[in-house]
Symmetry: C2
Subunit: 443 residues, 2 copies
């Protein structure tokens, strides 16, 4: 039996999944490796964290995507390194997986920028499990405040601080406002929900910095009008279990800091022994291959690929998806003995939603225009539905969004993290003679 | 302000939730306490564990159920004891909650009957988190087997043992067969799925013992025909991390024992200092009140309530639901100064499903009949949809069931337990020169 060349793909994110799908009719053996047995639709993670969608709705089992495609093998594992001379990847369990072509597309990790206490005391939002944990944590603070409202002032129990004014931070802040004002306000009638603050911290002097100024201002204005506090020109310099310290000396008491300030290359990038650029991204040739290893490609967030002006590509899904199609073609060219071509990223535009009926969209292809508000929001909804994998996920998300939109409900507000209910709760003794009904909610 | 009598309800299961809903227009202050912030629809837990439904679909946020009802206060806490003379319940955090009437409806806990190793090495199925953990565990074994098929024989990696031939055990065994044969067979084309055994252990000489003989035989026959091994007249006597030991000396190598053998009263029952009957259930007066404490009622699984022949009521949802309506009425009678009435449980019938197109139903009210197969299955589906709380949950479950039925798919097959992928995986070195594509799945 003649051996087909083996392509090992590390990561089942937008890049890895697109590549595996693109190659599925090619005469290759494709091995797709991921830490999880599912693909996560990361752009909607913030909706899982704010109880708008269920975790299963934005995930798709990798094996389900490739059912019936015998040239693809999936393996659930963490890749820890690559032995380039031997052409093998190494997994956390010590297993070695040989390759003829290797494509690294592991995505990005949260970048805490060395801020003291940030990793220990803030909530990142890169994975599905993290979103479920954050969802539980946020609702848990409301349960704690309901038991003991004094903690709202004493500990800032209902303050949520989001750091990072990019799309993730803006969308998260907007979704939190909706969760608080439309859902939790009714769930906790005894709580002063107006004192549940959503504070968005951004180092630059505007949110959504890569967008057009008018769109950035619209986003900032909309967030503020809906009740968020947008603090520009400041950054988080220290985090403890109970407070966030800012560069201007402000201290915000809170139990909930959501870290959307940035990403960096994952540990795998540091383990490769290759040249790295800003944020740990690995330097690649114009064709996305690794210098000196033409059989190895890197695509997506971890690749330090550049546009024709020498600027690093943004770390966005479309770059990974286009990179995947490019790499598929280069592997075919290599196998035919042809020279490879440089990768060209086409920026079709970007969008971000602030929430209900409000979004910004900056479109470059096929026509160039900018828009805000309801139209941008509809475009955002449509695009995300189209991008979701699998008819069933789309249908479920559509049903859920429709339901949430018309009922102002969020059905997924479950505390489902396996922790006991009284976790972290300080002892609290009620006066038995106090007014029934209100007593155990009073101070 | 005149104080309204306070009714404290412990447990937001079928009993507690029904009681709180029944009382929601009464001039009372109702405090509902549960460990979770959601009600779990326990009859469908096994479908979450087998990836047929998503956790959020069979749960409903308690505060959502009572939105707009200001006489109800929810508190998330674990109740650890009752101070009957002071009329206070105590929670795990030390908080004391006073009551005028107390209704204990905490449900049941898993009963391991003192079997050596059972608690440490088996999977119970009483809560949503347990179902998510079990789902992850089952799929994880398939991932491990796919990496190293030798473990199927060596460790019985794909053997799943279910102990307890009641409705839970039968439904679980049936759902596992479908998951294996319809979904995982396609997900793992390299694995010999026919060697994924589902073994149902039952101490008695038939499954579904409380049902009519003909129905029990139908269930046993159907399970067997679909591929389960139904082992009657045996019981689990010892459990280790890698094997299940039976009373006849048989040792089944497995990593997955699902414990559906029985329930007992939860720890709260033992902490009350009251007389207990079989399984730790607390002895109650015919009106469901606690002897000597007419202001305290117990309902559902924890109450040792009896029928007119002195037999303990079964530990089923309908008993708790009818008990809740009864207790609501007794509280009203008490407040009017009237004598209470004894609780009468009306057994309208029972059903259990073996899976796709197959169920048994034994109906007593309004008309008495027995049926099996497709009709019973449709009845089972309809009843469970009606019983689910909330239009949205019903809609989602209906969509999911329809999808699963026609596509033979299970979309929720995610390993989402927060554990690393290589957990438990022994190091395994591949021969780099072995056949690509199949190599890393070979021995």
């Amino acid at each position: 039996m003649q051996q087909k060349p083996r392509v090992v793909i590390v990561g089942a994110g937008f890049g890895g999944l697109t590549l595996a799908r693109t190659l599925r009719k090619d005469p290759l053996d494709v091995v797709l490796i991921d830490r999880n047995n599912y693909h996560t639709f990361q752009p909607l993670l913030y909706q899982v964290a704010t109880a708008g969608l269920e975790p299963e709705e934005i995930a798709h089992a990798v094996r389900g995507v490739f059912q019936g495609h015998r040239n693809l093998h999936f393996r659930m594992a963490t890749v820890t390194g690559v032995d380039f001379p031997a052409r093998q990847v190494r997994t956390a369990s010590g297993t070695l997986i040989p390759y003829d072509f290797l494509v690294l597309a592991p995505g990005a990790a949260t970048n805490y920028f060395g801020v003291d206490g940030a990793e220990a005391h803030s909530f990142p939002l890169k994975g599905l499990h993290e979103a479920v944990i954050l969802r539980a944590h946020i609702i848990r603070q409301f349960e704690r405040a309901d038991r003991n409202p004094a903690l709202i002032d004493q500990e800032g129990l209902l303050n949520v601080v989001v750091t990072g004014g990019g799309p993730t931070g803006v969308e998260m802040a907007g979704a939190l406002l909706e969760l608080f004002q439309m859902v939790l306000r009714k769930d906790y009638p005894d709580l002063p929900i107006d004192r549940a603050r959503v504070i968005l911290i951004e180092m630059a002097d505007q949110v959504l910095a890569p967008f057009d100024d008018a769109l950035s201002r619209y986003a900032c204005r909309t967030l503020t009008r809906r009740g968020a506090e947008v603090w520009l020109g400041r950054q988080v310099v220290r985090v403890t279990a109970t407070a966030v310290h800012l560069s201007d000396g402000t201290v915000i008491p809170t139990r909930t800091l959501i870290w959307a300030a940035g990403v960096k290359a994952p540990p795998l990038a540091d383990a490769l022994g290759l040249e790295q650029a800003r944020g740990g991204r690995v330097v690649v040739e114009p064709d996305l291959s690794v210098p000196g290893h033409p059989e190895v490609f890197i695509l997506g967030d971890m690749a330090a690929s550049r546009d024709e002006h020498g600027r690093l590509h943004p770390q966005l899904a479309p770059v990974a998806i286009q990179g995947a199609r490019h790499v598929a073609e280069q592997i075919r060219r290599r196998l035919r003995g042809e020279a490879t071509q440089p990768f060209r990223y086409t920026d079709k535009g970007t969008m971000a939603t602030i929430g209900r009926n409000a979004a910004v969209a900056e479109i470059h292809k096929p026509v160039s225009f900018k828009t805000t508000g309801f139209l941008a929001w509809l475009m955002w909804l449509g695009l995300h539905l189209i991008m979701l994998i699998g008819f069933r996920n789309r249908l479920q998300v559509l049903v859920n969004w429709t339901w949430n939109y018309f009922t102002y409900d969020r059905s997924a507000r479950l505390i489902l993290d396996g922790r006991p209910p009284d976790d972290e709760e300080p002892p609290l003794t009620l006066e038995p003679e106090s007014t029934p009904g209100v007593a155990d909610h009073g101070a």
